[in-house]
């Protein structure tokens, strides 16, 4: 089975082992260690970590298309935000008549705008299964249409990057408009509960953190399975020599579309897990800057490794939390500095550093592997 193939790889087992151990450790330190003890992990920190994990899943999705397909998407924030909005719409409908205006159906911002009924695209979002389906389908559909047009016209390279950027920018402007019916620049917020669990309770927050961690593990395994399959090798072939792959009989644009849509759905899932943890979704998630930042995480962590994307997302976001706490003004300089340093000294990112050590160890154990044939 192609889906179980990753479990046979040592690196994947190691990654999953570390991730699951970390999830267990955080849970233990949160629940079993008394508050006030230096080892106690507060619920605030758990939610922060959960947010990082959802970013890590987004980074994995970006690495799948950038690292293995050679498509530098500067608009993956759009898929993330769409997934987030789908989740946000469900959470809004869950508020019911407990909003400020007490309307049993309409969210507060619609009452405020004097709307008398729900727009058609809000229908169905009171049902969790429908909303969760939309978390995957909305970004997937956008990626399908966008990708179909772009790949069919053989738009690649920097031009594709620019139009992905334009796509997320256009969506941001659209979602800023109150008439769109997504809460305008305030977005969706004031969430109460998810599937009946109070979003403000500690137990729900821990549960969301664990769910995000497991989603990251599953998303990672899915991406790894794709990458380790023949389809993954065809993707790399399309990345490096598109014309040659076409000459061998592969319909390059279909492979690009498939991987792009899978990646967009993963990004949407990441967004859906992000929203209940931060408690708000607004159009700033569509901002081009955010999408570019995601690409930076992947570049810092190491492209085309998947685990590098996770490392990059976690490290950069941790650094961001620390920096913006200590010296808020210096953060962008620090981010720029990190990027320059990694590009100059670690062209393959942090993962490249890990790989290099492994390869050195392998090289000393079996020398002249390359010389045998010359």
């Amino acid at each position: 089975m192609w889906l179980t193939r990753p479990f046979r790889e040592r690196a994947t087992r190691l990654f999953l082992g570390i991730l699951l151990a970390a999830l267990a450790l955080v849970t233990l330190l949160n629940l079993a260690v008394p508050v006030g003890h230096p080892l106690h992990v507060s619920t605030y920190a758990v939610t922060l970590l959960g947010k990082y994990l959802s970013y890590a899943l987004l980074a994995v999705a970006v690495d799948l298309v950038w690292g293995y397909l050679g498509i530098l998407s500067l608009g993956h924030g759009a898929f993330f935000a769409l997934g987030g909005y789908a989740m946000g719409m469900y959470l809004m409908r869950q508020i019911g008549d407990r909003g400020t205006y007490g309307d049993p159906v309409l969210p507060d911002f619609m009452v405020f705008l004097d709307w008398d009924s729900l727009p058609w695209y809000w229908l169905g979002f009171d049902m969790p299964w429908f909303a969760f389906l939309m978390v995957l389908l909305a970004p997937g559909l956008l990626a399908l249409v966008f990708g179909f047009l772009a790949f069919r016209s053989r738009v690649t390279g920097v031009y594709l990057s620019i139009i992905t950027q334009a796509m997320t920018f256009a969506l941001m402007l659209a979602f800023f408009r109150n008439e769109m019916g997504f809460g305008g620049n305030n977005g969706l917020t004031d969430f109460r509960e998810l599937l009946g669990f109070d979003l403000r309770s500690d137990a729900t927050r821990l549960g969301l953190f664990l769910a995000t961690g497991i989603a990251l593990a599953l998303g990672y395994v899915l991406c790894r399975a794709i990458v380790a399959s023949k389809l993954g090798r065809v993707s790399v072939a399309c990345r490096d020599a598109e014309a040659r792959a076409r000459f061998l009989g592969y319909r390059v644009e279909r492979f690009q579309l498939f991987v792009f849509v899978v990646s967009a759905m993963l990004a949407g899932l990441a967004g859906a897990l992000y929203v209940p943890q931060v408690g708000i979704i607004n159009p700033s998630e569509f901002s081009p800057i955010f999408s570019i930042e995601v690409v930076l995480w992947v570049a810092l962590g190491g492209r085309a490794t998947l685990y590098g994307a996770v490392i990059g997302a976690l490290l950069v976001n941790y650094a961001k939390t620390v920096f913006t706490g200590v010296m808020p003004d210096a953060w962008l300089f620090a981010l720029g500095g990190m990027f320059v340093l990694v590009t100059v000294f670690l062209p393959k990112g942090i993962a490249g550093l890990l790989c290099l050590r492994l390869r050195r160890r392998a090289a000393t154990s079996q020398p002249t592997a390359g010389e045998a044939a010359t």
């Binding site: 192609w2 794709i226 399959s229 023949k230 389809l231 090798r233 065809v234 790399v236 072939a237 990345r239 490096d240 020599a241 014309a243 040659r244 792959a245 061998l248 009989g249 592969y250 319909r251 279909r254 492979f255 498939f258 592997a369 390359g370 045998a372 044939a373 010359t374």
Partner: protein
């Protein structure tokens, strides 16, 4: 009723039972048959009443000065260029002039271009795997498994092109010559009946040339592949050729063994003479 009976006939060969490898009919000898082919571009006759016959399993070298029509001839065989007049047959059943490029390729005519292009990030083995004739749609590719049969086929081709030791090396580290062999291997994975090879030894070292000569002569054989090599390097042609065809101004000037062709005064005049002066 008779239909049911026909299904039960023991001597009946169903389509799915027939060997799928080659639908090409070579019972009458030639695998490639060009007759009276002409093509002109803006009044310039690139190919002028060309007649060429390649036998099944033959290794044929085609030489000729620049502009003699070698590349145009390859383009016609692979369906890239349509001739103005004449006919081109693959075996005695397939009219090449009615088919498009992918159809001709899937029928078993493989073409190797001058500049090698391999997937540098993938290993030699993986390059061959991708080149193999298989269902190339999305889901079959996603769920494709390396069966023993596939593995055997890849190992067989690895042995043929002499890259067994390097099977797990990324093809980006291969030398120029090794990349050329890998690309020939990628063609072989598609089990072609006719290989068109354009200037295989350009830029190769002496030793690489020798090994390429061995490879190409080893490939040609009845029931396996027929090979057509277009080459400028006369030393190389001399080392592999059994039959040489000299093209000049779009038609065949001379044909025969290398010695006979080389002593033909017409050939000496238009080609070998100038070639030696250049050397």
């Amino acid at each position: 009723m008779s239909f049911l009976q026909s299904l039960a006939d023991r001597d009946r060969v169903f389509d799915f039972l027939a060997p799928a490898a080659s639908p090409v009919d070579v019972r009458h000898g030639p695998i490639l048959y060009l007759e009276d082919v002409s093509v002109s571009f803006d009044g310039f006759k690139a190919i002028d009443a060309l007649n060429l016959t390649i036998d099944d399993g033959e290794l044929r070298c085609i030489i000729g000065p620049n502009g003699a029509g070698k590349t145009t001839m390859m383009d016609i065989i692979t369906g890239k260029t349509r001739p103005d007049t004449g006919s081109a047959w693959f075996g005695s059943r397939h009219d090449l002039l009615t088919m498009n490029e992918p159809e001709i390729a899937s029928l078993g005519i493989g073409r190797k271009f001058q500049k090698p292009t391999v997937f540098e990030a993938l290993t030699v083995f993986e390059n061959l795997e991708l080149a193999m004739a298989a269902d190339k749609r999305i889901l079959p590719t996603l769920t494709a498994r390396l069966t023993g049969e596939v593995r055997d086929r890849i190992e067989e081709v690895l042995a043929t092109i002499g890259l067994i030791e390097l099977r797990h090396a990324p093809s980006g580290i291969l030398s120029h010559g090794q990349k050329q062999w890998l690309e020939i291997g990628m063609l072989l994975m598609q089990r072609p009946r006719l290989l068109l090879v354009d200037e295989p030894v350009a830029g190769m070292t002496e030793q690489e040339m020798e090994r390429t000569a061995e490879l190409l002569t080893g490939l040609a054989g009845k029931g396996r592949q027929s090979v057509v090599v277009v080459e400028h390097d006369m030393g190389f042609v001399r080392s592999i050729a059994r039959t040489v065809t000299v093209l000049h101004q779009g038609s065949v000037l001379a044909e025969g063994s290398m010695d006979r062709v080389a002593s033909d005064p017409k050939v000496v005049e238009v080609y070998l003479g100038t070639e030696e002066e250049v050397d």
